[in-house]
C-alpha cells in the first residue's frame, strides 16, 4: 500500500527539488529581515520602540513572506497540472484523497517551519539591535508580542493551504495566483461593499481573510472574532476550499 508517509516523502522531495520555490521563500523571508534590521538600526527613538511595536513590524512584513509561501503552494499544485506530472503522480498513488492530502500536509509543515523562522529570527535580531541602542524589548504574553510570534506560523499555514485549495479547485496558475493576491481586494472587498450598502458597520471585520490578520497583530480589539477565532474562521474557509478541491479532483479526469 502506498502509505501516507510514502506520499509525504515524495511530495517533500518534489517541493525541494524546484529552485524557484527556494527563491520565493528566501525573498519573502529576506524582506522581513531587511525591513526589521533597517528599522532597528535607523529608528530615531529606540527607547520608545517596544516589544509590541517590533512584533507588529514583524507581523505586518511577514504577510509578504506568507504570500510568497502561498505562491509556492499554488505553484506546487498547479505546476502538477501544467506539466502533467499529476498523471504519473496519480498513476503511482491511485488513492487521490491520499495523494492530495499528502501534498497538503507537506505544504502545511513547510509553511509552519518557514513561518516560525521568518517570525522568530528577525524578531530576535531586531531585539538585539534595538536593545543595543537603548531599548528594552523582550517577549511578553501581555503585550501581544508572544502571540504574534506563536501566531505567525499558523498564519503561514493558513495562507499556504489557501493557495493550495485554490490551486486544486482552479488547476490554473494564473487564476489561482490572481485570487490569492487579489482576494482581500476583490472578493472580500466586494462583499464588504455590499454589506456596507446593506447597513453593516465595518463589515471587513466579519470576513475570513481579514479576520486572520488577528494572528499577526498585537492588539486584536478591532477584530470581531478575536485572535484564535479569526484564525479558526479563515481556517474553516481554507478547509472548505481544500475539501472541495479534493472532492472535485477525485471525480475529474486528469
Amino acid at each position: 500500500m502506498t502509505t501516507m508517509s510514502n506520499v509525504a516523502a515524495s511530495e517533500w522531495l518534489k517541493l525541494r527539488t524546484i529552485p524557484l520555490h527556494y527563491i520565493l521563500v528566501s525573498v519573502g523571508a529576506a524582506f522581513v529581515m531587511v525591513i526589521v534590521v533597517l528599522v532597528a538600526a535607523l529608528n530615531g527613538d529606540p527607547e520608545f520602540f517596544f516589544s509590541d511595536d517590533l512584533a507588529n513590524l514583524v507581523g505586518v512584513t511577514s504577510v509578504v513572506a506568507a504570500l510568497s509561501v502561498s505562491v509556492v503552494a499554488v505553484l506546487a499544485i498547479t505546476g502538477e497540472f501544467a506539466h502533467n506530472t499529476i498523471r504519473p503522480t496519480l498513476a503511482a498513488v491511485p488513492d487521490r484523497s491520499r495523494a492530495f492530502l499528502g501534498k497538503g500536509l507537506v505544504l502545511a509543515a513547510v509553511a509552519a517551519l518557514v513561518g516560525a523562522v521568518t517570525a522568530w529570527v528577525p524578531y530576535l535580531v531586531g531585539l538585539v539591535i534595538f536593545n543595543a541602542r537603548g531599548a528594552d524589548i523582550g517577549i511578553s504574553g501581555d503585550d501581544g508580542s508572544l502571540a504574534i510570534l506563536v501566531g505567525l506560523p499558523f498564519f503561514f499555514v493558513l495562507l499556504a493551504l489557501f493557495g493550495y485549495g485554490l490551486g486544486l479547485l482552479l488547476r490554473s496558475l494564473p487564476g489561482a495566483l490572481a485570487i490569492v493576491i487579489l482576494w482581500p481586494l476583490l472578493v472580500e472587498g466586494i462583499i464588504a461593499s455590499v454589506l456596507n450598502v446593506a447597513g453593516v458597520d465595518e463589515p471587513l471585520q466579519f470576513l475570513p481573510y481579514q479576520s486572520s490578520f488577528a494572528l499577526v497583530t498585537a492588539d486584536t480589539d478591532d477584530f470581531f472574532y478575536g485572535r484564535v477565532g479569526g484564525g479558526v474562521f479563515f481556517g474553516l474557509v481554507v478547509l472548505v476550499l481544500i475539501a472541495g478541491g479534493i472532492a472535485i479532483n477525485s471525480r475529474r479526469d486528469v
Partner: protein, 354 residues
C-alpha cells in the same frame, strides 16, 4: 495479463472510446494501433483510472488499477515523456516517483544506468533531448520491476536507433514474462516493436491478432516488371484480365505494376510472347497501406490530396466503390505505348519485396 472489457469514454457528445474490449498477454509485446484521434491515449488513461470511463473495466492480473497496493511494482505506465517538471533534475524526477511506492534511491540509480542516463541525471530535464526524455520515462516505468508495461507512442520523434533501443528493451521485458502494450499511429513503427496488434478506429476495435496476420489480411500484392518492351507486355497481361500501371508515371523506365496475375503467370506470358524481362518480382503494399486499408472509415480526421481532389484517399485498385485508403490511383496510365486510362497504377515506392 491486461483485460479490457467494454470500455466506453465520452467527452460531452463525443464518444472517444466505444465499448472497447481486448487482451494483452504476458510475454508478448502488443501494439495498440490506430489513426490520430482513434482513442488510444484516452483508452490508456481510462485503463489507469486517470480518466473516468462511463462504462467498462480494465484488470491487471485480475485486479483493477485502483485496487493495486503499490502500482509501480505491478504496472509501469509511460503516457508521455513530457510529463516531467522542466526545472527538476532527471534523477530527482525518478526519486519522487520511487518514494511514492517505497522504492529506494539505489533502485533509481540502477534504472538510470539501464537507460544510460547516469551522467545526464544530474541536469534539469529542460536540457534533455526528446530521446533523453523518452529514456527517463522508460526508467520511470522500470523502477518497480513491473509485470505489465503500458507505453503511449514511445517511439514518437525518436530516430531509428532510438526506436531500435526501445524495441530491444520492450522485447527483453516481454521475454522476461511482462505483458507489454505499446501504442502508435504508425504500423511501420509498431511492426518493428510488437508481435501482436490491437487496431482501433474511432474508439472501436477494428482488428486484433498478430502483426503478420494483420498485414496478410489487409495488404495486397502485385507483380513488378521492367522490360524494354513494356508496352507490349502491358497489352498482353491486360488482354489476360490483369490490371497494369506504371510504377512511376514520371519515370517509365521504372517499370510497371501488374495486379490480378501471379508472378509465374506474368513470366510465362512474357516468355510465350518473346518479351524480354529485366525485372520480375512480387511486391506487397507497404505496412502503412495495410493500416490505412484496415482503418478505412475509422479516421477522426481526413484530408484530401495535395491537389485537394482527394488524390491521397481514393479507392485502391479493385475497390472502385470501396472506402478510403490504399495506394493512390493517380492519373490514367501513361506508359509509352499503353492506352491512357486503361488501368490504375500500383503504388510508387511501395513497401519492400516479399
Amino acid at each position: 495479463m491486461i483485460e479490457v472489457r467494454g470500455l466506453t469514454k465520452r467527452f460531452d457528445d463525443v464518444v472517444a472510446v466505444d465499448g472497447l474490449s481486448f487482451d494483452v498477454h504476458p510475454g508478448r509485446v502488443t501494439g495498440f494501433l490506430g489513426p490520430n484521434g482513434a482513442g488510444k491515449s484516452t483508452t490508456m488513461r481510462c485503463m489507469l483510472s486517470l480518466d473516468r470511463p462511463q462504462a467498462g473495466t480494465t484488470t491487471f492480473a485480475g485486479r483493477r488499477y485502483s485496487e493495486i497496493d503499490r502500482p509501480l511494482h505491478e504496472v509501469g505506465a509511460l503516457l508521455d515523456a513530457g510529463y516531467v517538471h522542466p526545472a527538476r533534475k532527471g534523477r530527482d524526477h525518478l526519486r519522487w516517483l520511487a518514494r511514492t511506492n517505497g522504492l529506494s534511491d539505489t533502485r533509481v540509480d540502477e534504472v538510470l544506468h539501464v537507460v544510460g542516463l547516469t551522467e545526464a541525471a544530474a541536469r534539469p530535464v529542460k536540457g534533455y533531448s526528446l530521446g533523453m526524455r523518452q529514456r527517463l520515462g522508460l526508467a520511470g516505468i522500470l523502477l518497480g520491476k513491473p509485470h505489465t508495461l503500458i507505453l503511449d507512442e514511445p517511439a514518437n520523434g525518436l530516430d531509428p536507433e532510438g526506436i531500435r533501443w526501445i524495441r530491444d528493451v520492450l522485447r527483453h521485458q516481454a521475454n522476461e514474462g511482462a505483458a507489454v502494450l505499446v501504442s502508435s499511429h504508425l504500423l511501420s513503427e509498431i511492426s518493428m516493436i510488437a508481435t501482436d496488434l490491437v487496431v482501433v478506429g474511432r474508439g472501436r476495435l477494428v482488428d486484433q491478432g498478430t502483426v503478420a496476420d494483420f498485414v496478410d489480411r489487409n495488404s495486397e500484392t502485385f507483380v513488378q516488371v521492367r522490360s524494354p518492351h513494356l508496352a507490349h507486355l502491358v497489352d498482353v497481361v491486360q488482354a489476360a484480365g490483369a490490371v497494369a500501371a506504371p510504377l512511376d508515371p514520371a519515370a517509365p523506365a521504372a517499370g510497371a505494376g501488374i495486379r490480378h496475375m501471379t508472378v509465374e503467370q506474368v513470366g510465362e506470358a512474357a516468355a510465350a510472347n518473346g518479351i524480354v524481362l529485366h525485372e520480375l518480382l512480387l511486391r506487397r503494399d507497404s505496412l502503412e497501406d495495410a493500416f490505412l486499408r484496415a482503418t478505412a472509415g475509422a479516421q477522426e480526421f481526413r484530408t484530401t490530396g495535395p491537389s485537394g481532389s482527394g488524390g491521397a484517399l481514393v479507392p485502391p485498385p479493385g475497390r472502385a466503390s470501396g472506402p478510403v485508403t490504399g495506394p493512390p490511383t493517380g492519373p490514367p496510365l501513361n506508359v509509352p505505348g499503353v492506352p491512357p486510362g486503361a488501368v490504375p497504377p500500383p503504388p510508387a515506392g511501395s513497401g519492400g519485396a516479399s
